[in-house]
C-alpha cells in the first residue's frame, strides 16, 4: 500500500499525550507510592516494601471486606442489569401502545445524577415514612417492611437494588438497538416452522444478541469495579463497614491522611481491572472475529 495514502502519525499525538499525562503517569506514580509510607503525618516519604499490601490483605482490618463487597457488587449488578435489561428490551420491542413513552420512562433513571438517586432512595427507603415501607404496610405486608439502609444484613442488597434500578434502562437501550438490528426474516421463518415465543428467543434473539451482551457485560463490570457515588450517596459505606466498597474505602483513607494505603487499594484495583479488561477485550475481539 502506498504510504502517502496513510493518515499521518501526528494524529495520535494529542490522544497519546492526554492518555500518558492523565492516565499512565498517575497510575505509575500511584503504584510507586503504594510501596512507601506516604501520609499526612510523614515529613519524608520512605520505601517500606510490601508493608501496605500486608496491611490491606491482613484480617485485622476491613480491607478484605471492601474488596469482597466490590466483587459481589460487580457480579450481582452485572447479572441483574443484563437479565432485567434484556427482559425489558424484549418487552419493549413488541407492539406496545405508547412504546416511546415506556422506553423513555425506563431510560430516565440513568440520566439522573447518582447523588440525586441517593437522595431520592434515602427518602423512599426510610423505615418510618419511606414510600416502600408505607406501600408494604398498606397492602398488609408489614412483615416485609425493613430498615433497608440501616440494617447491616440488608443494606448492601438495598444499595445493589438501587444501582440496578438506575442502570438497567441504559442496558435496555443498548439491547433494544441490538434486537432491532436482527433481521425479521429469522422470526418469520421460525413462525412458519411453528416456533413459539420462547423458542424464537432461545434460538434467534439470544445467539444474535451475544456480541451486544458482551459489550454490556464489559461496561457493567468496569462500572461495578469502580463504583463510588451510589454507595457514597446512599450509605457512605455504613452501617459499620457493611456497604463499604473499594473506592469509598480509598476516599476515606485519603480523608484520614493515609495516602499510601489509599494508593495501595487503588493499585490493587488497577491491576484487577487490567486483568479483567484484558480477558474481556480478548473475548470480544475473538467473538467479533468468529462472527465475520
Amino acid at each position: 500500500m502506498n504510504k502517502n495514502r496513510m493518515y499521518p502519525t501526528w494524529f495520535i499525538f494529542g490522544a497519546l499525550l492526554l492518555y500518558v499525562v492523565l492516565y499512565v503517569l498517575p497510575s505509575v506514580m500511584g503504584i510507586a507510592y503504594s510501596f512507601t509510607d506516604w501520609s499526612v503525618y510523614s515529613q519524608e516519604v520512605h520505601y517500606v516494601g510490601l508493608k501496605n499490601f500486608q496491611t490491606v490483605f491482613s484480617a485485622d482490618y476491613n480491607y478484605n471486606r471492601m474488596l469482597g463487597n466490590t466483587f459481589l457488587f460487580t457480579i450481582v449488578t452485572t447479572l441483574a442489569k443484563n437479565v432485567i435489561g434484556l427482559a425489558l428490551a424484549v418487552l419493549l420491542t413488541k407492539k406496545v401502545r405508547l412504546l416511546n413513552f415506556h422506553r423513555a420512562v425506563m431510560y430516565l433513571p440513568c440520566v439522573l445524577s447518582a447523588l440525586i438517586v441517593g437522595m431520592i432512595f434515602k427518602a423512599v427507603l426510610n423505615p418510618k415514612i419511606g414510600l416502600l415501607n408505607m406501600a408494604l404496610r398498606a397492602i398488609g405486608l408489614d412483615v416485609l417492611a425493613k430498615n433497608w439502609l440501616t440494617d447491616s444484613k440488608i443494606a448492601f442488597n438495598s444499595v445493589m437494588a438501587v444501582d440496578i434500578w438506575k442502570g438497567m434502562g441504559y442496558i435496555m437501550t443498548i439491547l433494544i438497538a441490538g434486537i432491532m438490528s436482527i433481521s425479521p426474516t429469522y422470526y418469520e421463518a421460525a413462525e412458519i416452522d411453528g416456533g413459539n415465543a420462547w423458542q424464537c428467543f432461545r434460538h434467534i434473539t439470544l445467539p444474535l444478541l451475544t456480541p451486544t451482551l458482551t459489550v454490556t457485560t464489559v461496561l457493567n463490570v468496569i462500572y461495578g469495579l469502580k463504583v463510588f457515588d451510589t454507595v457514597y450517596a446512599l450509605t457512605n459505606g455504613g452501617p459499620g463497614y457493611a456497604t463499604e466498597v473499594l473506592y469509598t474505602g480509598v476516599y476515606k483513607e485519603f480523608g484520614l491522611g493515609r495516602y499510601a494505603v489509599g494508593t495501595t487499594l487503588s493499585s490493587i484495583m488497577t491491576v484487577v481491572m487490567l486483568i479483567v479488561g484484558y480477558f474481556m477485550i480478548k473475548h470480544m475481539v475473538q467473538g467479533g472475529g468468529g462472527e465475520a
Partner: protein
Amino acid sequence: MNSRMRNRRRWQAVGVNVLAWALSLILMAPLLLILVNSFKDSVSASDMNLALPASPQWSNYSVVVEKGKLGITFLNSMLYSAATTAGCTRRCICSSCWGSPCPSTSSP
C-alpha cells in the same frame, strides 16, 4: 388465522401492555416523588411522600432559579458537556484513523 389464534394474540397484546404500564409506574414512582415534593413547602416536603401538595408552591422554582443561580450552573454544565464531547470525539477520531489508509486518493 383462525379466531382462537386471533383471540390468543389479542390477550397477549393486552398482557404486554399491562406489564409495560406496571413496570413504567414502578420505575416512575421515585421520579414522581421528586416532582410532587418540588411543589410542597419545606415542612410538608420533609415527609417525602406521594400526597399531592395542599397548595402548589410555584415559588420553589423561582427560588431555585434566583438563589441557586440556575442560569450560570446550567451554562457551566452545557459548556462542560460540549467541550468534553467535542474534545473526546476529535481525539478519538484522530487516534482511530492513525495508521489506517485514507479513503480518498488525495493526501489527507
